[in-house]
Symmetry: C2
Subunit: 471 residues, 2 copies
């Protein structure tokens, strides 16, 4: 044995670690198999794929905690993995990391059918959970494109948003309780089941949205809504962004069941029609379009309220034209413009895709300035703006770019502009490894300092999701 033989040391370490983990988890839960490693080598982002040196597939929350204790004793870096649908590279292994998958920690544990709360383990896929509660007259309102694959634990760790935030909030608002395995192997139970709890520091908030850097979420108590049965949809044409904000304010007061308010600027609408061969919705074109959805219980009353509201907005000149869906099929046609995003993302590759948050009173100026700057510097590319206006969440799709250096320039340009208007560089997808270099555009130096101190407090050995979010 040569002490300088790194490969040997590496293998020796792996063996000791492997044996310790097998002892805790069982041989079928610790994999060195290349195919398994390949399946855990990356998320849906463009972060470079990397096979983990070992893949752990524990069967229950307690084994997750035990595995962390062993990993800590071996000073072994570990990346936590849910459904691997993230877009920020947070779950993509970095060199030398072990992958810890929650896929088998997936029991639905209990269901309060009276109050509407559900207790689940972290690995339950979102769609499975939605279907499960809907069969019993309840509804879990979080919804996003990756629903079939993403896991509820990942939704919590990233504070997922989606299409219905305007009414039901983000994942943070849908969580009553959490259980978290800390990096030192301690199980931290915070399994609150009540809406109002004022018994000191709300510790679970530390783990929601911190992307698995402080602990591994293992169990969750979710707050459900009664299942709605009536969906109403409308598409509005408006003359300006300002009119769209007036429409939003009126509808927020008038229609408490407003569940979506999606904004599309004319440039996006035009690209959407091109790529999906869709007809123009109205005879004329308009600067801005708004897609509206309500979720309720009474088709008649809900429809009447929507019609009355939009008639009023037409009379007041705030809305120029409107289409109210007359059937489910018709509603799908109205959503079709918005749902071309997937195709546009493919067509415009390589692109820069943003999920930024902008204060509403700065939004219009931001869009106008950013469009002008991009059109001037990158006139050969498309720059399409759309977003969940009710949440101040703006998407921008810009591309295609042949040169990677241009992509970086676009990111720098947009993130610096976000900083200027006190916005945030991510409203949905998170920081992960991909946006980490830009985090300072959204968080102050004392914030970054405190985040680092919290990381050191909870993960003193520095083994868990290192390099994600903070350095």
């Amino acid at each position: 044995m040569k002490s300088g033989d790194k490969n040997y040391m590496h293998r020796h370490d792996t063996d000791a670690l492997y044996n310790a983990l097998v002892e805790i988890l069982g041989a079928d839960c610790v994999s060195l198999d290349a195919a398994v490693a390949e399946a855990h080598a990356g998320d849906w982002s463009d972060a470079p794929r990397m096979r983990p040196r070992m893949t752990l597939l524990p069967r229950n929350p307690e084994d997750v905690a035990r595995a962390l204790r062993v990993l800590g004793e071996h000073r072994q870096a570990v990346v936590v993995q849910g459904g691997l649908t993230g877009l920020a590279g947070g779950a993509t292994p970095q060199a030398g990391e072990v992958a810890l998958s929650l896929a088998r920690v997936n029991a639905i544990e209990s269901f309060d059918r009276i109050g509407g709360t559900l207790t689940v383990q972290a690995g339950v896929p979102l769609e499975q959970l939605q279907t499960f509660v809907e069969a019993e007259g309840w509804f879990f309102p979080l919804d996003l494109g990756a629903r079939g694959t993403c896991q509820i634990g990942g939704n919590a760790a990233t504070n997922a948003g989606g299409n219905r935030v305007i009414r039901f909030g983000t994942m943070r608002d849908l969580i009553l309780g959490l259980e978290v395995a800390l990096p030192d192997g301690t199980m931290l139970s915070m399994m609150n089941r009540v809406t109002k709890n004022t018994t000191g520091i709300d510790l679970k908030q530390l783990f929601i949205g911190s992307e698995g850097t402080l602990g591994v979420i293992t169990r969750i108590v979710l707050k459900l809504e009664p299942k709605p049965s009536a969906v109403n949809t409308a598409l509005c044409a408006v003359a300006s962004f300002d009119d769209a904000t007036r429409l939003l304010k009126y509808l927020r007061a008038r229609l408490a069941n407003l569940s979506s308010f999606e904004l599309m600027w004319q440039d996006f609408m035009s690209a959407a029609m091109d790529i999906a061969h869709l007809k123009a919705p109205f005879g004329d074109t308009y600067p801005v379009y708004v897609l509206i959805e309500t979720l309720g219980e009474s088709d008649d009353d809900d429809r009447r309220a929507l019609e009355h509201s939009l008639e009023r907005m037409l009379d007041d000149g705030i809305v120029q034209d409107v289409i109210i869906a007359q059937s489910i099929e018709h509603a799908k046609q109205l959503w079709a413009y918005r749902e071309t995003v997937g195709e546009l993302l493919s067509k415009l590759k390589p692109h820069a895709a943003f999920d930024i948050g902008i204060p509403m009173d700065r939004m219009n100026g931001f869009v106008e300035d950013a469009r002008a700057a991009l059109n001037e510097r990158f006139s050969q590319q498309a720059h399409l703006f759309f977003g969940h206006l009710g949440d101040g969440n703006l998407h921008l799709l810009s591309g295609p770019y042949a040169d990677a250096a241009d992509l970086l320039k676009v990111e720098e340009l947009i993130y610096a502009a976000v900083n200027d208007v006190q916005g945030c560089i991510s409203a949905e997808h998170g920081i992960g490894v991909i946006k980490q270099p830009f985090l300072h555009y959204s968080r102050s130096a004392p914030e970054l300092d405190l985040m680092g101190k919290l990381k050191a407090l909870l993960d003193p050995a520095g083994i868990l999701n290192v390099g994600r979010v903070t350095k």
Copy 2:
């Protein structure tokens, strides 16, 4: 000078501290006056009053941070004070503490009238803020009895709730951004202005509901709602608690603008009628009564939806009888039963008053068991149950007790029962010093341990609100 002369040393310390604070804040902001001290000697709770050794009245957020730095250098314990309306003794000075009042840090700084966000300093009284935004067509939905005196910073520090949580959430849900002066004098700015922000650990959550133990909230960005103009009110009689939960589930789906769902058991109703000389609302008595309120924009559509909903519940046998208010005056009459609470609190003194949270599927059993146990052991006292059912928040008023030892027995009995059903010992009023000895009934040992570590991390000198929440 004798080194053993404690009074002298004490006076010397005060002088040095006093001088340092006067240098920072100005002489008019540092008071040794007995009348000022008396005005800052306690909150609305029964915690023993104690004059602070000095009262600080800084004029702006930056001076709060500077004062904390000086206090830390002198290892001087400090209690943070807002409107002093708390019911848990959190703002009542303990021996030797300096009081730091936010009363003058009370500017309304900026108002985004497009998106509906308001930036304020911590000392603005709640009612002033409500009135300010309502004059411009916006609405701040947090509301509680102390509105005229309580301050928005205290509302944030205690995560205040109130009557409209079922629709708008607690204070935590209404805060977008915070600025906090840390115990070491660092100013931590987290002045986010967007609804969705996924840029790492949501640090502001540490300070919401932690009752000023980790830092002093100095500025807040609040999320507003459009001002509603239509209020509809109804009182329902139901045959059982279970029927009340069925009614709640139906109305949550049907009436998205449902803003209150207040439950009163018959024993409470009877006591309310007695004390305020109110007529019985219905010809018969019923086991449970529910007070319902909706907040919207259209009197016609909203009224029709409420009527349709309650007709359906009558047809289904879930509601036994119903009164829908026909005027504002009539609505006040319906609320009058619920609003006898203040008088009942006075009449039943000395009492034990609880603001507990109970999971919905355990609520009925909890109330029945607790009522039986209290009636058996304390048959001479009244035990009145009511609450914000939509939030799982149960109030119990039990008294009068001549013997203080009995009060303690009632508290032990109820808190142990809360623990058994996985409830929380405070859903509204917080822990402060009064509920501190009972905190272990609601929080696990690892939670208490982590709270202590966070306290040590942020307040290593141990000067800020010491002894509140955690020991």
